[in-house]
Symmetry: C2
Subunit: 256 residues, 2 copies
């Protein structure tokens, strides 16, 4: 395995610039294991010199059989790894996005959700709710950045993710029920029939769903909060909506 010791090495420079390209870096054994389970081998696997001694790292390295492997001096590795105490393994993968037409099933649209933790948590929740398509409009945190990958906990590999999408144009081609979530004066989410395909729109942490996106949706829905409370964290709101949809679909399945 090639060992890189210099900051001036061109491969190292490329890796460090990775976050804005069509490649992404998976940080740590958990994400790499999820990728190997669900997708396949990464393009390249990168270990730290001290990581070579970890049993978990060498087991993963063995599973990456055909992938190019690189070893970095620990100091260089720390510059690439996003976490403070990296176990010593990173994997470079091709980012999997799609430009396919709107799906027939349910999907989640994010309108300028800026916080990486929120975007990653919503991806994780969508996968757990059985929703496969997630569409990020402009102004969202990048789906394949290290913080979003970390919060997603591997959900990325179960999803079809679209980025930098014009949400209004997307919705015009969607045949199911589109629902913009708004802080007040929408229909109660509990009063809407969610047993068919639903496109949910969740908005920016401060401003909510933009007027333009809300106008493109067929319905506006509100989570009925306790008296005197104004809002929820957007990832909490998404969890409530997506699992209300899942609950209604489970009830319907049990009835038929």
């Amino acid at each position: 395995m090639k060992i890189i010791a210099s900051r001036d090495n061109s491969t190292f420079k490329t890796l460090r610039a990775q976050r804005d390209t069509a490649h992404a870096l998976l940080d740590g054994p958990h994400l790499l294991a999820a990728y190997l389970d669900k997708v396949g081998r990464p393009l390249r696997v990168i270990v730290s010199e001290s990581g070579l001694g970890h049993g978990e790292v060498s087991a993963l390295l063995a599973r990456c059989g055909g992938s190019e492997a690189l070893c970095l001096r620990d100091a260089l590795f720390r510059e690439l790894a996003a976490t403070e105490t990296p176990v010593g393994i990173l994997a470079e993968i091709a980012v999997s996005t799609t430009d396919a037409a709107p799906p027939r099933g349910s999907c989640v649209l994010l309108d300028a959700v800026q916080d990486a933790g929120n975007v990653g948590t919503i991806l994780r929740t969508a996968a757990a709710a059985g929703v496969r398509d997630v569409v990020l409009g402009t102004g969202c945190a990048g789906a394949w950045t290290s913080k979003v990958l970390r919060a997603g906990q591997g959900a990325h590999f179960d999803l079809a993710i679209r980025e930098r999408v014009d949400l209004a144009a997307f919705l015009s081609g969607y045949s199911g029920t589109s629902v913009a979530t708004v802080a007040r004066d929408g229909e109660s989410i509990y009063a809407i029939d969610l047993s068919g395909p639903v496109a949910w729109i969740f908005g920016n942490e401060g401003a909510g769903v933009s007027e333009n996106s809300a106008a493109s949706a067929r319905r506006r829905a509100t989570i009925p909060l306790a008296e005197g409370c104004e809002s929820l964290n957007v990832a909490a709101a998404a969890a409530i909506c997506l699992f209300e949809e899942r609950r209604q679909k489970l009830v319907r399945m049990a009835e038929t």
Copy 2:
């Protein structure tokens, strides 16, 4: 107003050490405004020299009438403020905890939830769901630390918060239904009657609810996830459970 310019000033030193005491620092206009609306005047209000020029800061300062006011040179202020771009106002408040006996209504118990963002988001969700009592066991992020306050968005002032509580002892005095949330093999949350008082237990990000806490609960509940998905972020799970309870209670209220 007294201006503090030196790092050696004893008041400044005390403020900097604040986070482990019975006092907490509210960072920024949003939290202070929520406190003024819901609780009253802070013990002390602290502004940065440049903050004095902001209209929002001077309006809040006026609302803090009887509170002691301090002005810090900008460099000192930045050492105290938790956010990267502080607007220039902090408030010192007495931490409001309770040792009262378990409530009769619903409550949320956190078992070693370590991430400050998760704890704060759960506090915010609990308040929005109409749950008033939150009980933090050992190993949780401190409820009154700056990151938890920020994620809580003012929910702290709507809640009765207990910290460093023996959860099993607390549950032994609770008369409602106690429900430990577990990743698998519990009853479906949708199959449990949540129309009466419920004590929910949510567990650590990695390990979940400890065996000891789960054994103290009357029931074990699981959120039914899509095939192949293992888990949710704990704050997302809490949102789903607390709003399933709220939905059931709203249905019951509509029926009676």
